[in-house]
Amino acid sequence: MSMESLLETFFAECEELIEALSDGLGRLAAGESGDDLVNAIFRAVHSIKGAGGAFGFEDLVSFAHVYETVLDRIRGCLLAIDAEVLRVITRAADVLAELVENAQNEGSGTPSALAQVRSALEGYAGVAPAAPLHEPSLDFAPMAFEPISFDLDTPESGGRWRFVPDATFYRNGHEPLHIFSHLRAVGDLKVSCDFAEVPSLDGLDPDGSYLVWEIESSDLTEDVIQQTLQFLAGLYELSLVEDTVVIPDVEDQPSRPVSADTPAPAKTANATPASPRATLRVDPERVDRLINTVGELIINQSVIGQKVGGLGLEQNSELLSALEDYRYLAREIQEAVMSIRAQPVKPLFQRMARVVREAAEATGKDVEFVVTGEGTEIDKTLVERLADPLTHMLRNSVDHGIETVAGRAESGKTPVGTVRLSAFHRSGHVVIEISDDGKGLDREKILASAIGKGLVPEDARLSEQEIDNLLFMPGFSTAAEVTNLSGRGVGMDVVKTAITSMGGRVTIATEFGRGTTFSIILPLTLAVLDGMVVSVAEQTMVLPISGIVETIRPARKDVKSVGPQEDVILVRGSFVPVVALGKALGFASPHQSDPTYILVETESSGILALSVDGIWDQRQVVIKSLEGNYGNIPGVSAATILGDGKIALIVDIEAIAQLAASTGSGPCLSEQGIVA
């Protein structure tokens, strides 16, 4: 085992601990209390500190130490939790998470809030706690073994006893089996259970204790048993049974099946703390390999399907129905494998809670952050890639969406603004919504600003949706002045590019004065896509169905030339610009005698008609990245392998629109008027 793998363990564990920490703090904030809760919070920080020290993350350990000291005081009831304390320990969790991230990325940066939060913590810690790092690492306290008052040989060994636990025994979380294994460490032991006293159901007190256990041992004495069970003092009765009979081994008759039917031990099942969620750590590469192989299986299945299909068998032949089963099983496996990589968005959303808190603090606004659908699962790789776009969008919501307290009062709103982050599944997609109850988009201002920046011509007539989408144009920023929060040189265009690269899209719904909702719509997995297989310039290519509106074969008279290289099609009274797909991709395209047109919806250019030579098929394809071995190709997002083993490129419709716009072979935004 290498140091790296240990470090990996550590960071994976930290992730879980920070999740537990945020969880705990969230519950505290929601008004819950109790020793267990505070203990769990304490332990999370404590464990990070303990393990962090092993790797020499001194900043992390020293901060965790102060933090832990404060939590320990809370735990010991030396410090009461008021709103301010809660705020500080919540902020401290953010700083701690950031320190862990820094350690993981080997970054040297210091969290901006570190000094402030640390001194606040130190204020609560009482005496500034000394860091434990330079303690001598071993303090050896030799133990005097021999002279303790115990007779090593007791004369009468062995016997049989009745062990009768009372109800408190179960209530305190004791489990007879544990007790017996405990006893067995001391001496030879046989245990049996007597159900005689269990009443019928109607007379049963669910909290009562009815089971009597008989213990037989050849070498234990009553004293030794009492000594061993000292910590149970008062919770049980032990009495000697005179006669000896053969009693089955505890292994032969385990107490568990018994306890399942009888109420008293069932109580212990409740009292026994739930074990942490059982998880299996798997190297992500193995999962990727599995996903790839299953992708191959799917392709292989469709190859066989094609070949068998070519045999001209009867519809109800056995081979075809077996093949159908094969297809079904292959899909099942694929879904199951994909779900391995699926992860709840919860940790991501928890990180976002931090982002919102920080943003609220930086802007001096009062913001309540509401999260729903934390359990929604999406592909792990998507979780990671969503962090940056979400961070940016949430900062924007706080910074530009939510009004100041005064501003909210003016509009008759509650002083505390709400930013909502939710995730849910909708028709084969995952939707993540970021909404605020702030001022909404000011379309007039947006349009004016875009015109001022030369992004759209002055006389442009844009639909509301088109105006909203201007936010995503490169070089656009709504804030009149750059604030220290969102004004970091990244615009919403970067957000959009990031989402698009995941195969998703972003939409905006806004109501002036009432708030704005951004929806990110993502495919369920990255690896499979519904595509339309087309032929273009003697190549087979795949268009993602998600971008396709419809396919049309217009009458010749409806295709009109509006320039040397520019055609438009009349579709239900509107003119739609034509983009020759082959040409946009730079293929020397032979002239298209009878092209088919596919209407696609793009964010940058609205509706376009892509002309292709023919449409073959519509099917699910397994996405293969080109970037690993080749690099990024303009206009192409990835590749896939078709049933015959040949590679087909997957077209990036958005990029095609941009390519067409930049090469002048298609429309650009200034021609939007035609569409509208």
Binding site: M1, T9, R43, A54, P132, A141, P142, L152
Partner: protein, 126 residues
């Protein structure tokens, strides 16, 4: 001489792996448990030469582990080392009074851990 075998109880997976890694490298077998309850469950399953336990753990803490082990008379000789970040005197005294054999503060020195285990386990065997 057969291999030494250590029961390591800690709720941190990182620490469990670190301890296992360190001791395994020194030819010492390690059985791990993730809290006091599991520790006490595993303790009777074989003859351990040393128990290493954390203090702060869910379900049953290290004090409970020491107590649970020490209450049986023939376990009074099993060395129990406490491996923790806690360094306060009160904690130490409490552990000692319950019967802890020694106290190692995290982060630990790997060689010192091995030496300590060998020392306490060896003493028991002599």
């Amino acid at each position: 001489m057969s291999k030494l075998c250590v029961l390591a109880i800690d709720d941190s997976l990182t620490i469990r792996r670190l301890v296992s890694h360190t001791l395994n490298d020194a030819g010492i077998e390690v059985v791990t448990a993730c809290d006091g309850v599991e520790g006490l469950e595993k303790f009777p399953t074989r003859r351990f030469d040393t128990v290493i336990t954390d203090i702060n753990m869910p379900n049953l803490d290290g004090f409970g582990v020491i107590e649970g082990i020490r209450t049986a008379k023939q376990n009074r000789r099993v060395p129990v080392l406490v491996l923790t970040t806690e360094s306060s005197g009160a904690f130490r005294d409490r552990a000692r009074s319950l019967g802890a054999t020694g106290w190692i503060v995290k982060p630990f020195d790997e060689a010192a851990l091995v030496d300590t285990v060998r020392m306490v386990a060896g003493r028991r065997r002599s």
